[in-house]
């Protein structure tokens, strides 16, 4: 967890320092390239993992259940906040 926080914190500081330069325009593009590359690697590790390939249907169902829980939870909570404070 420490290296993760360090990477983000250094990034925020660097971003703040260069916020008024032209360099900022390229961070979005660079981010897209890096994410695309990582998606390829993610695909490779999924394809190499026999467990994942064989259990894809049950993985999908688990994902669906977690999505329904998380999304509905946030909807009920925001409705309560909205009624109460806004």
């Amino acid at each position: 967890m420490i290296p993760i926080i360090l990477c983000i914190a250094t990034g925020i500081l660097a971003g703040f320092l260069v916020r008024n330069t032209g360099f900022v325009k390229y961070t979005g593009t660079l981010l897209t390239v890096v994410i695309t590359l990582l998606f390829f690697f993610l695909g490779v590790s999924v394809g190499n993992n026999e467990q994942v390939v064989r259990n894809f249907a049950s993985i999908g169902l688990d994902a669906f259940i977690l999505t329904v829980g998380g999304t509905l939870g946030s909807l009920f909570c925001i409705k309560w906040i909205d009624d109460k404070f806004f």
Binding site: P3, I4, I5, C7, I8, A9, T10, G11, I12, L13, A14, G15, F16, L17, V18, T27, L31, V34, I35, T36, L37, L38, F39, F40, F41, L42, G43, V44, S45, V46, G47, N48, N49, Q51, V52, N55, F56, I59, G60, D62, A63, F64, I65, L66, T67, V68, G69, G70, T71, G73, S74, L75, F76, I78, K79, I81, D82, D83, F85, F86
Partner: protein, 200 residues
């Protein structure tokens, strides 16, 4: 949308190459992906640090605006904790780690794969894609049933980019600043929550 298709294409290419054994051993054993991940986190930080929208929203709405990302976080974790009872094979912290993706499927799935391997990483990928997709298709219903802040909360980290046009359309243009502020806060919290839950 076009961007998501490019991601998907690269992901599927990776799966297909690996399934057919076409990936050289050299690439598999190395930890290149870990260093690329660190670089990715650095870039995410840079985007946050160079953003100017955050303080504008704070000035306009005051402290109350912070309640919105708070509601998203508490609501998501409570909901996930509840449904995790239906998934006895998965630990509560793994479920919360997936939920902490807040629809930011690229970052969360990559991070989780690094922590727990491709199994939970794939759960995170699918779950968070579904969450983003649910906003894209259900936003009108969310607004009607849960109020105008609902698609913002459901959209999680994506309310500053991919789901922003939908939110603007169904909640109204006056919600754009809120959506940007909300997206930025949640965006920032994703890697922190994910690594927190998975290191427990």
């Amino acid at each position: 949308m076009k961007q998501s298709l490019v991601y998907l294409l690269f992901f599927i290419t990776g799966v297909a190459l690996a399934l057919n054994g076409l990936i050289p051993e050299l690439l598999l054993g190395s930890d290149i992906s870990k260093w690329v991940l660190f670089f990715l986190l650095f870039l995410v930080g840079m985007q946050i640090g160079s953003g100017k929208n955050m303080f504008a929203a704070l000035k306009r709405y005051g402290w109350k605006i912070t309640l919105i990302p708070l509601a998203t976080t508490i609501g998501t974790f409570s909901g996930v904790a509840l449904v995790s009872l239906l998934l006895p094979d998965r630990s509560l912290t793994d479920c919360l780690g997936v939920g902490a993706g807040f629809a930011y499927y690229s970052l969360s799935s990559i991070l989780i794969t690094e922590f727990r391997g491709a199994g939970l990483g794939t759960v995170a990928l699918l779950a968070n894609i579904m969450r983003e997709f649910s906003v894209l298709i259900l936003a009108p219903w969310m607004v009607k049933r849960f109020g105008k802040l609902a698609p913002i909360s459901a959209g999680g980290a994506t309310t500053m980019d991919t789901t922003l046009p939908i939110i603007t359309k169904f909640s109204g243009t006056e919600y754009v600043t809120i959506a940007l502020f909300h997206g930025m806060i949640i965006d920032f919290s994703v890697p922190l929550w994910v690594s927190f839950f998975l290191s427990l």
